[in-house]
């Protein structure tokens, strides 16, 4: 195909490499300063499936750097506007727009459908969410972030390599790092950094060596200087990583925890033959392969009570540890005394299983 002839003549890519690109599935989170240039090169290069998730709409102040969009896109959702422009750029691939916010409830299912996640977000909460869900779903993340004239690029969770939390274990205090909207950014900078992110995607898909895993590339547009700082995997961060209580709780799922006993995943796994009861809906991700596991959605507990043995220690869990509190309260109302809600929910179990492996 002449569209990709300049790739195919490269001995390092060839038809074989181009075929790899055409079967790759890449999800770009955020179609902003970083996401737009990354998307343009990913789509032009023939990445087979490109997903775009963004809840925001195109504003005039975006056009100084998000050159995927024109004035005709103003007021339109970014994922949808990007899809429409990109389909003209390359109609031979599959482009999917998700015009909503990435939250933990949709992230798991979404990530499962892709091979590589590109982080083009502009807030720490989503960055840590992307990191944590990518560990659970075992997807590499191509990270980019900018500040005025400087950019950072790295690849996390690549072939079991270090993650964002190995580099920056804790999210900074709220409001301590300003956003581009407050402090400004040189228009070309996200263009450069977003292209570097696209480049890392190609390196991963094409199995090139020297992917930026365990390495943070810093680029300064004013001095044209760049440096690469290496960092290691921190096993201790993995456990914290997967315990959402640590930093960003899901505000919408918070509720009172009175008189319900809480147990940590590490304590639960030390118990003698406990029963793990999953009170999430059927089909919620991540799914677990666990011994002594019973799956009863919260609203069915009373109907399926016979499956819960009162002589055992019952560990109830859900996604984050809120529905499981309600489940414990139901069981206590039915006379069960030996019930706990699992702190951190399913993520804490997965973290514990990974530590034990």
């Amino acid at each position: 195909m002449s569209r990709y002839s300049r790739h195919i003549v490269l001995s390092e890519i060839g038809q074989k490499g181009q075929d790899k690109l055409s079967t790759a599935k890449v999800l770009v989170v955020g179609a902003g300063g970083l996401g737009c240039p990354a998307l343009q090169y990913l789509v032009a290069a023939g990445i087979g499936t490109v997903g775009i998730i963004d809840f925001d709409v195109v504003e005039e102040s975006n056009l100084q750097r998000q050159i995927l969009f024109g004035t005709s896109s103003l007021g339109i959702n970014k994922a949808i506007a990007a899809k429409s422009r990109l389909e003209d750029l390359n109609p031979t691939i599959n482009i999917i727009a998700y015009p909503h916010k990435l939250i933990s409830k949709n992230a798991h299912v979404l990530f499962e459908n892709y091979d590589i996640i590109v982080d083009g977000t502009d807030d720490f909460e989503t960055r840590y969410l992307i990191n944590d869900v990518s560990i659970i779903t075992n997807k590499p993340v191509v990270y980019g972030a900018i500040y005025k004239f400087e950019g950072q690029v790295s690849v996390f969770n690549y072939k079991g390599g270090p993650s964002y939390r190995c580099l920056f274990p804790k999210p900074p205090k709220e409001g301590s790092v300003a956003r581009c909207s407050e402090i400004g950014v040189l228009g070309v900078l996200p263009g450069i950094i977003g292209c570097m992110q696209a480049n890392e995607v190609f390196k991963i898909v094409l199995d090139f060596e020297d992917v930026l895993t365990g390495k943070l590339l810093n680029y300064n547009a004013k001095t044209a200087q760049s440096s690469i700082i290496s960092f290691s995997k921190l096993a201790v961060e993995l456990e914290k990583t997967l315990s959402p209580k640590e930093d960003f709780k899901e505000k919408d799922e918070k509720s009172s925890e009175t008189q319900v006993r809480i147990i940590s995943a590490s304590e639960a796994f030390q118990l003698d033959n406990p029963q793990f009861i999953d009170v999430r809906e059927y089909g919620e991700y991540p799914q677990l392969n666990l011994t002594n596991y019973v799956h009863i959605p919260l609203d069915k507990i009373e109907h399926q009570i016979k499956q819960i043995h009162s002589e055992k220690v019952n560990i109830l869990f859900c996604q984050t540890g809120t529905r499981s509190i309600a489940a414990v309260q139901i069981l206590q109302g039915l006379g069960y005394t030996n019930c706990y809600t699992l702190e951190g929910g399913v993520f804490a179990i997965i973290a514990q299983l990974k530590i034990k492996m």
């Binding site: 955020g30 902003g32 300063g33 970083l34 996401g35 982080d119 083009g120 977000t121 502009d122 807030d123 720490f124 960055r127 980019g144 972030a145 900018i146 500040y147 005025k148 400087e150 950019g151 950072q152 580099l167 920056f168 804790k170 900074p172 205090k173 301590s176 790092v177 300003a178 956003r179 581009c180 950014v185 996200p190 943070l216 810093n218 300064n220 001095t223 440096s227 690469i228 700082i229 290496s230 960092f231 290691s232």
Partner: protein
């Protein structure tokens, strides 16, 4: 020992330079940070990681190499 210290992002705005060379006689990273916090009090409020000779290290590390970097997380996109 002569230390070359590099500052990134908003830290460079606090120190008003991208890098500087300092004469330092103590041996640990925490001593160095204490000295920098005295020199630039606003640094103390900021989140950052430290690198020694292009490698992220803990803030308790013993200083062995002459190039230090202070790296804050960036959020912009």
């Amino acid at each position: 020992m002569n230390l070359k210290i590099k500052y990134f992002g908003l830290l460079a705005e606090i120190t008003k330079c991208n890098e500087e060379t300092l004469e330092f006689s103590k041996t640990s990273m925490s001593d160095l940070l204490e000295m920098l916090f005295e020199k630039y009090p606003s640094l103390k409020e900021k989140d950052f990681q430290v690198a020694q000779n292009l490698e992220i290290v803990s803030k308790e590390t013993i200083l062995s190499k002459s190039e230090i970097a202070l790296l804050p997380p960036f959020s912009g996109g």
